[in-house]
C-alpha cells in the first residue's frame, strides 16, 4: 500500500513541483513579451510592421556595431579563458586552490554594475594606471612628451570591463567540460609523438569545444543587450542596449524600444537554438 501511495505521489509531484517556476516565468517573462510585442505591432489603430521598418532603417548601423562589439568580447574571452580553465581543471591538483580561483572570478561579477564600471576610471583615465605604466615605458625608451592613450570612453575600455563582468560565463562551462577530460590523454598524445600544437588541437580544444560554444553564446547574448557598461565606460556608446534604454526611459517610445528588443531577442534565440543543435547543454552542466 505504501508503495502504491508513493508511486501516486511521484506521478503527481513532478508537475506540482514545477508549477511555481513555470507560473513565475509565464507571468513575468512570456506575458510581458507578448504584451510588448502586441504594442510594437500596433500603430495607427491597426497591425503593421511600421515600427520594425523604422528601427531597421534607423538603427541597422547600431545593430552591426553592437554585433561586432559582442563578437569581439566573445573572442577575447574565449582566448583568455581556455588556458586558465585548462590550468585549473587539469593541472591544479588542490581542491582548495580550484575553489578559491573560481570564487575569485565571481567577486567582480557580483559587485554592483555601476560600481564595477566606475572602478575602471582610475585605471583607464588619461592619468590612469595604464597610462602611467605606458608613459614610464615609453620615456625609459627615450620618447619625450608621450600622448596619453585613450582607453576610457572607447570600445577597448568597454571590452576590459566586460572581461571582468562575463569571465565567469566563459570559464565555468569550459572548466566543467575539461574536468571530465582524462589528463592521461595528453600524456598518450606525447607518447605517440604529437607535438604540443597537435595535442592542443586534437585533444584539449576538442574536449573544450562544447564548453566554448556554451560560454560564447552566453557571453555574446549578455553583451549584446548590456546598456550599463557601454554607457558608463563607453561614454554613452551607441550600442543597441543603450538605444533601447534611451527609447524607453527618455523618449518613452515603448513601441520602438520593444521592436528593437524583438530584433535582439530574435538573434539571441537563433544563437541559442544553434547552440542546442551543436551541444547537449544538460550533459555539460551536470
Amino acid at each position: 500500500m505504501a508503495t502504491k501511495r508513493s508511486r501516486a505521489l511521484e506521478w503527481l509531484s513532478t508537475p506540482l513541483l514545477l508549477s511555481p517556476a513555470i507560473i513565475m516565468l509565464v507571468i513575468f517573462l512570456i506575458l510581458g513579451l507578448v504584451y510588448g510585442l502586441n504594442i510594437s505591432l500596433v500603430s495607427n489603430g491597426g497591425y503593421t510592421l511600421q515600427n520594425y521598418a523604422t528601427v531597421f532603417e534607423g538603427y541597422s548601423d547600431t545593430l552591426l556595431f553592437t554585433l561586432s562589439m559582442s563578437a569581439g568580447i566573445t573572442i577575447i574571452l574565449a582566448v583568455l579563458c581556455l588556458p586558465v580553465a585548462y590550468y585549473l581543471a587539469i593541472r591544479v591538483k588542490s581542491d582548495t586552490i580550484k575553489l578559491v580561483a573560481l570564487l575569485l572570478m565571481l567577486v567582480p561579477f557580483w559587485t554592483d554594475w555601476n560600481i564595477r564600471a566606475i572602478s575602471w576610471y582610475p585605471v583607464l583615465g588619461a592619468t590612469g594606471f595604464f597610462n602611467i605604466i605606458y608613459s614610464v615605458i615609453l620615456q625609459s625608451l627615450g620618447f619625450q612628451n608621450v600622448e596619453p592613450l585613450r582607453i576610457l570612453f572607447t570600445s577597448s575600455g568597454v571590452w576590459l570591463s566586460w572581461i571582468q563582468t562575463y569571465i565567469l560565463f566563459m570559464i565555468a562551462p569550459v572548466y566543467l567540460v575539461l574536468l571530465r577530460m582524462d589528463p592521461k590523454l595528453i600524456k598518450a598524445a606525447a607518447t605517440l609523438r604529437a607535438n604540443s600544437v597537435k595535442t592542443f588541437y586534437h585533444i584539449t580544444l576538442k574536449w573544450a569545444a562544447p564548453g566554448l560554444v556554451i560560454g560564447s553564446v552566453f557571453v555574446f547574448c549578455m553583451a549584446m543587450a548590456d546598456y550599463a557598461t557601454p554607457s558608463l565606460i563607453g561614454g554613452q556608446m551607441p550600442v543597441i542596449g543603450f538605444v533601447i534604454w534611451i527609447l524607453a526611459a527618455k523618449a518613452m517610445a515603448f513601441d520602438l524600444a520593444i521592436a528593437l528588443s524583438a530584433i535582439v531577442l530574435a538573434i539571441i534565440i537563433a544563437l541559442v537554438v544553434a547552440m542546442l543543435k551543436l551541444v547537449d547543454v544538460t550533459r555539460v552542466m551536470y
Binding site: 559587485t111 560600481i115 542546442l276
Partner: protein, 280 residues
C-alpha cells in the same frame, strides 16, 4: 613543473591581475583625500566614508538619498532571494527525474539568464502599469529581478545534489511519511547548505542588478543601482561612491568566503569523478 605549466600559471595570474586591478583602485581611491578619482593619490582620509553631510567631503553614510536607496536595495534583494528559493527548491527536486520534456523545461527556465535585461525591464514595466495596474515598488522589482536570479539558483542546486538524497526520500515514503514530512525531515536538512549558497548568490546578484530593476523601480521605491546609474550619467563620480562601492565589495567578498567554506565540503564542482557524498 613543466614549462607549459609555468606559462599557464603566469597567464592565470595575469588574468586575475586584470580582474582585481580596478577593485584595488576602487578601494584605494575611496581613501583618497581629493575630489578627483584620478592619479595622483594624495593622502589617506576616512571622510568619504564618515565625513559629516555639511563638509565638502561628505561620507556616504551621511547621505540620506544613498542610505534610503541602500536600505531599499537590501530589502528588495531579501524578497528576491525568498522568491528565488521558494521557486528553485521544488523545481530542482522535480528536475532530478527523467521525463518527457524535461530538457525543454530546463532550457525554458535558463532563458531568464540570457533574456535581454533591458527588454525584460521594459515589458514588465508595461504589464505592471498599463495592464495589471499595480503600483511600482518592492514587489515589482523583486519579481522582475527573480526571473534573472532563478536560473542561477537552479543551476547551483542541480550541480550539487546529493545522489543518495532520492534513496533516503524513497525510504521515508515507503515507511509511510507524507510528502511534506519527507521534505521537512529528510530533504531539507540534507540540502540546507546548498540552499544557503543559493540564497547568498541570489541576494548578491539581486542587490546590484541594474538592467532589469531600472525600469520597474519607482520614485517611491528607489533602488541603489538605478539611483547610481542616473547619478553617474549626470555627473562624474566622486570618491564618496568609491567608498560605498568598497563597502559593498567587502560584503560580497565576505559572503563569497562563506560560500567557499560550504562548497569545500563535498565538492561537486571540483572533482573529476561523479560526486560521492561524505554523508552517504
Amino acid at each position: 613543473m613543466e614549462k607549459s605549466d609555468i606559462l599557464c600559471l603566469i597567464y592565470t595570474i595575469f588574468v586575475f591581475f586584470l580582474l582585481y586591478l580596478p577593485i584595488a583602485h576602487l578601494v584605494a581611491f575611496s581613501f583618497n583625500d581629493s575630489m578627483s578619482v584620478h592619479y595622483p593619490w594624495i593622502k589617506f582620509t576616512l571622510d568619504w566614508y564618515i565625513g559629516p553631510i555639511t563638509a565638502v567631503k561628505a561620507g556616504f553614510i551621511n547621505d540620506p538619498m544613498v542610505m534610503i536607496c541602500l536600505q531599499n536595495s537590501l530589502i528588495q534583494a531579501a524578497v528576491t532571494t525568498l522568491i528565488t528559493i521558494a521557486v528553485t527548491i521544488p523545481t530542482a527536486l522535480a528536475l532530478r527525474k527523467r521525463f518527457r520534456g524535461r530538457n525543454l523545461i530546463f532550457y525554458f527556465l535558463l532563458l531568464g539568464m540570457i533574456y535581454p535585461g533591458v527588454t525584460l525591464g521594459i515589458s514588465n514595466l508595461l504589464i505592471f502599469t498599463q495592464w495589471l495596474h499595480v503600483p511600482l515598488g518592492l514587489l515589482t522589482v523583486s519579481s522582475t529581478v527573480a526571473v534573472y536570479t532563478i536560473p542561477f539558483g537552479l543551476f547551483l542546486l542541480m550541480v550539487r545534489f546529493d545522489p543518495m538524497l532520492a534513496r533516503y526520500e524513497e525510504a521515508a515514503l515507503t515507511l509511510g511519511a507524507s510528502a511534506w514530512k519527507v521534505f521537512r525531515t529528510v530533504t531539507f536538512p540534507i540540502i540546507k547548505l546548498e540552499v544557503i549558497v543559493v540564497a547568498l548568490f541570489a541576494y548578491t546578484l539581486a542587490f546590484g542588478e541594474i538592467m532589469r530593476s531600472f525600469f520597474v523601480a519607482s520614485v517611491n521605491f528607489p533602488v541603489l543601482p538605478a539611483f547610481l546609474y542616473v547619478e553617474f550619467g549626470a555627473h562624474p563620480p566622486i570618491p564618496k561612491f568609491y567608498a560605498l562601492g568598497s563597502t559593498i565589495t567587502l560584503i560580497s567578498i565576505v559572503s563569497i568566503l562563506i560560500i567557499g567554506l560550504y562548497m569545500s565540503r563535498g565538492g561537486g564542482l571540483l572533482r573529476r569523478s561523479t560526486v560521492v557524498s561524505e554523508r552517504a
